[in-house]
Amino acid sequence: MIVDIGYISLLLAFLAAIYSAVAAWYGKSKNEERWIESARNATIATLPLLLVSSAMLIASILRNDFSVEYVWRVSSIEMPTYLKYTALWGGQAGSLLFWNLVLAVFTAVAMANKWRSQKDLIPNALIVISLTQIFFLGISAFVENPFARMEMVPANGNGLNPLLRHPGMIIHPPMLYLGYIGFIIPYTFAMAALMAGKLDDGWIKATRRWTLTAWLFLSLGLILGGRWAYDVLGWGGYWGWDPVENASLMPWLSGTAFLHSVMIQEKRQMFKWWNMVLIVITYSLVVWGTFIVRSGVISSVHSFARSAIGPLFFGFVVIMLLFSAYWITKRRDQLATGNKLNSLLSREAAFLYNNFLIITILVIVFFFTHYPMISELFIGEQGFVGPPVYEKALAPLFTLLVILMGIAPLTMWYRSSAKRLGIAMRWPALAALIITIGLFALGIRHWGALLGLWATAFAAILTLLEFWKGTRARMKKGEPVWTAFSRLMARNRRRYGGYWIHMGVLMMALGIIGIESFQQETQLRLETGERLTLGRYEMELKGMERYPGPDDLLITEATINVYENGKFVRTLLPRTELYTRTGQPMTIPSIRSTIADDFYVILVNWEPTTATAATFRVFLNPLVNWVWAGGFVFILGTLIAAWPDKKKETVASRAAQAALGAAD
């Protein structure tokens, strides 16, 4: 019964999406408002329908109804209740239903909005978003049905992998979904603007917050995924350039390029065509990423169940690309603008360089990710490109991007004088050089790292100066320093939020340079009382212990004293947990974290027969905590930039309406 209600709701949502596309199209061609209203209602109705459907799937999981194949796959009787809720996205079919639910939330919220300033876009927006919904709901209803039954009812289910029980892993997929799906809204409005031939920056302004929100969640997903890998996978790393990781990085990159280049359109009415292309690329990469992740066409360390949905995703991406290309070509005259680049030293040129660098990085990541397919096509053998190749090709581009991040805020719209720029950059460049020479004097001889550190310091000084200049200007009007600073943020959220994001990126850059260039590791068997030295740390094995944990766990734990420069600082307890019922082990590192580095210890092996000795692998990860701290600042900056600013909004929309009125 529960299962039937779930499936029927899913089918109804699918039918509602079809109805919405048809009704919106009909209403548009007959110019009948009530058909469009009806289409809008049908689109919004997908949300309650999918809520019911998802609730029914969760109910089946909670009731241990193993007659449903999906429940059998991802759940088991013993599984803790909170994991039974999150099992909704624990498997292929369920995660697609969850994807549909999130899409319906975004769609319903976007369509419930009256969009007074963008009313003309609504019929087309309904058509475009319904097409996306029809595809994903169709997959859920007919190809990957989460409510499909088993032929025989098993007594118990498989249960969720212990490795996935980390909190980071429970929230990481929904974050990525929110990010992925969020980009569907700006794409929808971009297409609607194209179809309606309304090509001012109205659609950009109307969807700016959606874009930022999507970008925020995608960033969070990337950062949390990295943190999970660092905590759980036990190789002291956080990013492996795996195809599935790249699949989430690529739309993030094009989304970043889009967020920057729309500013030129808003300010100078340039790059209209390019912004359309960027949002189409981002949307396509979202669907393409889902295809890579779920089809298994590229060998990845993430294994998904293979199913028939691969070719379907491929077909859908091709159709949407053709559809988008058709409309962009059709409107190419309207997308061309009379404004041109006045100077290669202007703000708009800086955005152009930014876009060039980001898109180049994106193209390279795309090429490397697809290299197995490309090489098979051309040389008949599947090649593969590993992390060192990515790092070697991308490091110079990221360095340039960091330098540009510092310089760009100094440039002016239209043109800026080379002399003024030179004066503004002179001292920061020198200060960064002095820092770099200082690092050289301290014994750092890694040239790539020194260059990267110079660039990071240079950009950080320039960014901090931007904060200082703004604050000082307000202080001159008599405001105390803290008031001046906080008002500066509050009055220019978008700009200073952006600078906060830049600071976050620079902090992460520092951390990445640290761990990539200076990571040290060693492996050694220690007798109780023996010591191991790595960098300025020393560790002493105090003892080993094995004891039963909660549930079916058997815990093997080492007690280790850590000394920094000969002084005791902390006791670490690296351990392995064995889920005895399933035989699944889990290695849990123990870490001493400071702002300077992580001393990261993994228990490799302990034979109870040699009770006094155990083998450890130890990593020294310099500056890695700057990656996480930078991630935090980055998210904070995005929140500042995206925070609703009511007064400004109404002024902007009124101005937009006035402009529209004038244009008509």
Binding site: R73, V74, G90, G91, Q92, S95, N158, G159, L160, N161, L163, L164, G234, W235, V244, F271, W273, W274, V293, S295, G296, S299, V301, H302, S303, F304, A305, R306, S307, A336, T337, N339, K340, L341, L352, V363, I364, Y371, P372, E381, Q382, G383, F384, V385, G386, P388, V389, K392, A393, L397, Q523, L524, R525, L526, Q584, P585, I602, V604, N605, T615
Partner: protein, 172 residues
């Protein structure tokens, strides 16, 4: 990407526009060359070939010594972890393409590599390294990748694009 346009009134502007256009083309070609150089330079000698166990044995002599990425299914009984001395450990196991038809078998050796949590019977492994003269596959440091059971489901037995056919990804 460059949204530069020009008007057609006046010879001067036209010539200027043409020389501007030339500048952009030259600049674009230079940038493109730089990017291609970056990519080619990074890839030179650093790409691996992806092979399944059967594919490896089909061309063993040619592939011996080459930088490879092998995909296969782990045979649980073959996993062995040995501590040779205080500084050295050896992890070894066998991989096959198909557990139901477990031949040929490739023997993998990974020195000083902790035993990955996911290394167990029926796990899908990706191993980076090279095969030596004795037909033993030596994994690179950090070159042992076990498929992350992202969705923790059983795989479809058929239609494996990697050419790997197996029945489960990682069973509890």
């Amino acid at each position: 990407m460059a949204d530069t346009t020009w008007t057609n009134d006046g010879e001067d502007i036209l010539t200027k526009a043409k020389s501007n256009r030339l500048k952009y083309i030259v600049g674009g070609v230079l940038l493109l060359t730089a990017v291609v150089f970056l990519v080619v330079n990074a890839m030179r000698g650093s790409t691996q070939l992806y092979k399944t166990v059967n594919e490896f044995y089909a061309e063993q002599s040619r592939l011996t010594g080459r930088d490879l990425r092998i995909g296969g299914i782990v045979i649980g009984d073959s996993i062995k972890f040995t501590e040779i001395d205080a500084q050295t450990t050896r992890l070894e196991f066998d991989v096959v393409d198909d557990l139901d038809n477990p031949s040929p078998v490739l023997h993998i050796v990974a020195m000083n590599e902790p035993m990955p949590d996911l290394l167990q019977h029926e796990a899908q492994a990706l191993i980076e390294g090279h095969a030596n003269e004795n037909g033993v596959f030596m994994a690179n440091q950090g070159g042992l990748l076990l498929k992350c059971p992202t969705r923790y489901e059983e795989l479809d037995p058929a239609g494996h694009p990697d050419g790997i056919t197996n029945s489960t990804s990682s069973e509890q």
